[in-house]
């Protein structure tokens, strides 16, 4: 499969007066053409920072990207792109959908004009043409009466409609990758389902690859091809959706899965909960970042970060429990056997 996007050793840090906050700490992954990759993690794990870095939406000096980091789009390093090329890359090659549809649209512009604006920047077309294409884009995201809706201001639309407009803007220049950062978090359950259906349908229709950033494992279960779980700026586990859900091999992934009550089960036992909170990212953390909350923590975990172990072609995990000297533990056992 063709790798359309490849991230190598991405480091992102924020310079604050309190010190350097290292939000992303050496993340490497790739995205194949036409697939859906989900980046899952809790707030502050670096998932949003990673996704914004893909479009180079950060500006120095407040934000720094590691010198050895590379983001390759079809082999071309995004971090080395010139201003002009970068503008073309954003939108034309990679589009972005933000979390909050309230703030990602300009309240003083008609939505049709906002889509047309994106088109005019990237294409040499007339205004009229841009308008027609904008209406087309609205049609693509299943907005009823697109001609009429194009004349609306954002506040005249509901949250779900607005998120559709945001998606239409991201899609307008036919990018080959869409980065969607928590696109459904601000929406209600029924609307969330509609938006997810829409994204799936668009993927089907246009063959766009999607990077879906979310904290909700439920959202990705039926949507993503592959999942990577992030914690404290690092990828703890990655694999196909089935591998992550049925053979979670990192205690953190397991905890994430178990701390959501199962709708299907009638079991009313105590909900599994992790103790404590994630570490402060201002710290250096030579150890495994999860060690302080991990029920299977071992002395080695507090000393060194484990290497990534491959359990299958697609399934990789960073955990000392995978080490041959490590004891076998309860529920993670099955996964370990499957990997051997």
């Amino acid at each position: 499969m063709e790798r359309i996007l490849e991230v190598k050793d991405l480091h992102v840090h924020f310079n604050t007066y309190a010190g350097k906050i290292r939000a992303v700490r050496g993340v490497s992954f790739h995205l194949n053409r036409g697939e859906t990759l989900a980046i899952v993690g809790e707030s502050g794990c670096g998932k949003t920072v990673t996704s914004k870095a893909l479009l180079r939406l950060y500006k120095p000096p407040q934000v720094g990207i590691g010198e050895t980091s590379q983001i390759l789009y079809s082999g071309e390093d995004v971090l080395k792109m010139g201003k002009k090329r970068l503008q073309d890359y954003r939108g034309h090659q990679v589009g972005m959908v933000f979390q909050d549809p309230m703030t990602s649209l300009n309240p003083t512009m008609k939505v049709g004009d906002q889509i047309a604006e994106a088109l005019l920047i990237h294409n040499k077309i007339s205004k009229k043409e841009a308008r027609t294409q904008a209406v087309e884009a609205l049609k693509l995201v299943n907005i009823p009466n697109p001609e009429k809706r194009a004349e609306c201001y954002p506040h005249q639309l509901s949250g779900g409609m607005r998120q559709r407009v945001v998606i239409a803007i991201a899609l307008s220049c036919h990018p080959s990758v869409i980065v969607a950062d928590e696109p459904t978090t601000a929406l209600d359950v029924t609307i969330q389902a509609q938006i997810l259906d829409l994204l799936a349908e668009i993927k089907e229709k246009t063959g766009t690859a999607i990077i879906l950033v979310t904290h909700d494992l439920g959202v990705v279960a039926n949507f993503a091809t592959r999942i990577q779980v992030m914690y404290a700026g690092q990828i703890m586990e990655r694999g196909t959706t089935r591998e992550i859900f049925y053979q979670p091999s990192h205690p953190y992934t397991e905890a994430l899965l178990n701390s959501v009550p199962k709708l299907s089960s009638k079991d009313k036992g105590e909900l599994y909960s992790l103790k404590g909170t994630p570490p402060d990212l201002i710290l250096d953390l030579a150890c495994c970042p999860f060690c302080a909350r991990c029920p299977y923590c071992m002395p080695i975990c507090r000393e060194r970060m484990p290497e990534e172990t491959a359990l299958s072609d697609t399934h990789r995990v960073s955990c000392w429990l995978q080490h041959p000297s490590a004891p076998a533990v309860g529920s993670l056992n099955n996964a370990r056997k499957a990997g051997e």
């Binding site: 570490p279 402060d280 302080a292 029920p295 923590c297 000297s325 490590a326």
Partner: protein
């Protein structure tokens, strides 16, 4: 694979309370505001200048050995010299002494005026916003009526009624309507705050309205209040200067910067420094307060916190 001793692979589990402690040194709101204010060079320069001006108004009149009322017929309208650092006026009074003496009056009016109007404005605005509805409506209509009266009329009326031009009368006249702006500002802020969940939580606990205002609403508008005061002070100083200039303010032999400027204007052609020095003081003070206010507004804005 490298050898790692077996005892390192022994499950020890979670350390009690291992992660609950915040590792980062936490900075309080005021500490953080002060840090950001210090980074603002303009505001710090203004602050230092203000401190110098304030100290001079306190000690300035005692530095020369002349009293501000002491006339010297031999030394009328003298240019600045070693004897008289800022020169003398048409009655031979030492201008250096008079400028700082006048500064006392100007500063007092500025500070006291801002303080009084802020206290009244805060109380009025918070009551109006907290109770809302009819109370708010009536209270705000009163403010609008008061604001629409030109303060010159009030000043003239008050000086006629009380037949006095003292400092107290002047402050009374200026603050009589001066608090209205603050009241509106505070009302707006508190209307926002009262929807905050911590205010609802206090109401749910049965905390009395007065306590909610005093414990929750006012402390959380303190930043805004401080900025308001800083911007109010130059307004009062200027108003006083203006009133004194047109003869409605401080009467001789007491003086203020405005009165000094007013007295100097007749001889302005011949002795420009008599007008220039008090005007410079007014300008410097107003500018410093405004710049400091700008700095404080930036420093106290929680959205700019990093």
């Amino acid at each position: 694979m490298e050898q790692i001793p077996q005892e390192k692979f022994r499950i020890v589990g979670v350390e009690e309370g291992g992660t609950e402690h915040a590792a980062r040194r936490q900075v309080g709101y005021w500490q953080d505001a002060w840090r950001r204010l210090r980074q603002n060079k303009t505001a710090m320069a203004a602050l230092i200048l203000l401190a110098v001006l304030l100290v001079m108004t306190l000690i300035g009149p005692n530095l020369t050995g002349y009293s501000f009322e002491q006339m010297d017929r031999e030394a009328k309208n003298m240019a600045p010299s070693a004897q008289h650092w800022f020169g003398t006026d048409d009655l031979g009074r030492d201008l250096f002494t008079r400028v700082w003496q006048g500064g006392r009056v100007s500063m007092t009016i500025g500070l006291l005026g801002a303080l009084v109007s802020t206290v009244i404005g805060v109380i009025y605005g918070s009551i109006s916003a907290f109770f809302g509805g009819v109370v708010d409506n009536v209270m705000m209509r009163i403010v609008e009526i008061l604001i629409s009266i030109p303060y010159l009329i009030i000043v003239i009326l008050i000086s006629v009624i009380t037949d006095s031009h003292s400092l107290g009368t002047l402050i009374l006249a200026l603050t009589l309507t001066g608090w209205c702006g603050t009241a509106r500002l505070i009302r707006g802020q508190i209307l926002q705050l009262r929807e905050q969940e911590y205010v609802l939580a206090a109401e749910a606990l049965g905390v009395s309205p007065l306590r909610v205002i005093v414990k929750h609403l006012i402390p959380n508008t303190l930043g805004l209040i401080i900025v308001g005061v800083t911007f109010d002070i130059p307004g009062y100083i200027f108003s006083e200067a203006f009133l004194s200039y047109i003869g409605l303010g401080i009467q001789p032999p007491e003086t203020s910067w405005g009165a000094l400027a007013s007295a100097a204007q007749q001889n302005f052609r011949f002795y420009p420094y008599q007008l220039f020095l008090p005007s410079l003081m007014i300008a410097l003070t107003m500018l410093s307060f405004t710049l400091l206010g700008d700095g404080l507004r930036d420093a106290l804005d929680p959205q700019l916190r990093q």
